[in-house]
């Protein structure tokens, strides 16, 4: 799907509250996440499934909100 990816990563280690993750498919790709964002039960060595989904509705809603605020402030600025 265009709005979603899913991949697996190995939790290689946790250093100073940072989870060091290695992309299973190519473990030369390394990235970190705050440990607090991982499920509490996650342990070193675990294989994690990572799903990234675009929240299209929330994005649209936030964009609309910000645009409205800009318009409102712009209006006030002209008063």
């Amino acid at each position: 799907m265009q709005d979603e990816t899913a991949f697996r990563a190995s939790l290689d280690r946790v250093e100073e509250g940072l989870a060091v993750l290695l992309l299973r498919e190519d473990e030369s790709v390394r990235f970190t996440l705050p440990r607090a964002l991982l499920p509490q039960g996650a342990r070193e060595g675990d294989i994690l499934e990572v799903v990234i989904r675009r929240d299209v509705a929330a994005t649209e809603e936030a964009r609309r909100r910000v645009a409205e605020r800009i318009e409102r402030m712009r209006g006030k600025g002209r008063e």
Binding site: S10, D12, R13, E15, E16, L18, V20, L22, R24, E27, S28, R30, T32, E44, G45, D46, I47
Partner: protein, 418 residues
């Protein structure tokens, strides 16, 4: 298995005997740290692989590699070994399965024949580790899981002892790292990998002789390693921190650095010094850093520029309150004083004469505030106030000479003309 010559590796579980042997081979007292060491038998290279570890041990014509940094550092390690004209590795050690230690090993074992693979043997489920093990198996490299009390026999004159993991693993990959103690003559190196305080306590409890002259600081100088109690037992003259500049974890941590500094040890860091090579002839130590010509294990002509300084040009040491208070040409005495409010570690500092014809390197020595130390050219027993160069002939020219005091980086702290 039978094709692997046994002389490369003889494992022994005679723990008691090993402890006694280690104790005997490391008599009290610190070795002198000197400038340049032509003809050293043992060179330990702490290769700069950014955030991670890779250590090459060369002893005469034998070689051992301990870890190889992250995956992308494999090529750098291979290139470093090729530059050293290394054609085979007698032993490769994977201290533990984290990627900053084993990531580069696949490149290495593809590039060189390996006599034996020594592993921590913790079943870490990463693909990095699994593929490495698969490759070791496919290549038919003899495989051993390290355990406290084993000895890796590279050469009859070199003792390599496994200090960790203990017989009862601590259940944490870092704490169950392979820790090695390498001893040649009166000089020992303790390679801590990522072992922290629990492993330190386990080693102390096991009654191991932890005293060492060179310490590969545990876990990139994390605050969770290098406890004060442990450092007191090791009392290193030289500490090497393998760490990447601007790493995500804040290594080295200030707390660990402060504890290391409190020991009076000289500290080297791969993020600042690049690759650090500590060589020995079994009595004295010499350090080479960065892009300088590395130590060779065969005798070579000593040149004045081959001294292991970090900065090639002499610059004034900032905020150093140590100075040459007096130079007595007739009595052959130089007096060094300190205006610092705290003790100053002069270990590795040098005194040179005009034209740098003669160089004296301070042994492990701390100058207490408000006191002076006098360096005598002749022989004698060093004390807190008097040091002896041990020269049979005068050093200072009675017609006039210049004494120069420099820090271990070669930066001039003070000069005095008489």
């Amino acid at each position: 298995m039978s094709s692997i010559p046994l002389r490369y590796l003889i494992f022994s579980l005679a723990l008691t005997a090993c402890i006694i042997a280690a104790g005997c081979s490391a008599p009290g007292g610190q070795p002198e740290i000197i400038s340049g060491l032509p003809g050293a038998d043992l060179a330990v290279h702490f290769i700069d692989v950014g955030q991670g570890d890779s250590i090459l041990i060369e002893f005469r014509d034998t070689t051992m590699l301990v870890d190889a940094g992250e995956r992308e550092m494999g090529e750098r390690v291979v290139a470093y070994l090729q530059d050293r004209q290394i054609e085979r590795l007698d032993v490769v050690v994977a201290t533990h399965a984290h990627s900053d230690h084993i990531g580069g090993l696949r490149d290495v074992i593809s590039a060189f024949p390996v006599g034996r693979f020594v592993d921590a043997g913790q079943p870490h489920p990463t693909a990095t580790y699994e593929k490495l093990l698969a490759q070791v198996e496919e290549l038919g490299i003899p495989y051993t899981v390290a355990e406290r009390g084993q000895t890796i026999a590279l050469d009859p004159d070199l003792e390599v002892m496994v200090e960790n993991p203990g017989l009862q693993p601590l259940g944490d990959i870092n704490e169950d790292s392979v820790v090695l103690k390498v001893t040649y003559g009166g000089v020992s190196y303790l390679l801590m990998s990522d072992a922290g305080k629990p492993a330190e306590e386990s080693m102390a409890k096991a009654g191991l002789d932890l005293d060492a002259d060179v310490l590969k600081v545990g876990h990139h100088a994390s605050r969770h390693a290098s406890s004060a109690e442990f450092l007191a037992a090791v009392s290193p003259a030289i500490s090497v921190i393998t760490v990447g500049e601007g790493n995500d974890y804040g290594h080295p941590h200030d707390e660990a650095l402060e504890r290391l500094e409190a020991t009076g040890s000289r500290i080297y860091r791969t993020d600042r010094d690049g690759t650090v090579v500590v060589a020995t002839n079994g009595r004295a130590l010499a350090v080479t850093t960065g892009s300088e010509p590395s130590v060779t294990l065969t005798p070579r002509a000593a040149t004045p520029t081959a001294t292991p300084v970090i900065t090639p040009t002499a610059t004034v040491a900032p905020s150093s309150g140590v100075y040459i208070a007096d130079l007595d040409l007739q009595d052959e005495e130089v007096t060094i004083a300190s205006a610092e409010a705290t003790a100053v570690n002069l270990t590795g500092w040098t005194i040179t004469d005009e034209g740098m014809r003669n160089t004296y390197t301070f042994p492990v020595f701390t100058l207490v505030p408000g006191t002076n130390v006098t360096l005598h050219s002749g022989a004698g027993n060093d004390t807190a106030t008097d040091l002896y160069w041990g020269r049979g002939v005068p050093v200072w020219n009675n017609d006039g000479d210049i004494a120069t005091l420099s820090d271990p980086d070669g930066r001039v702290a003070s000069t005095l003309e008489r």
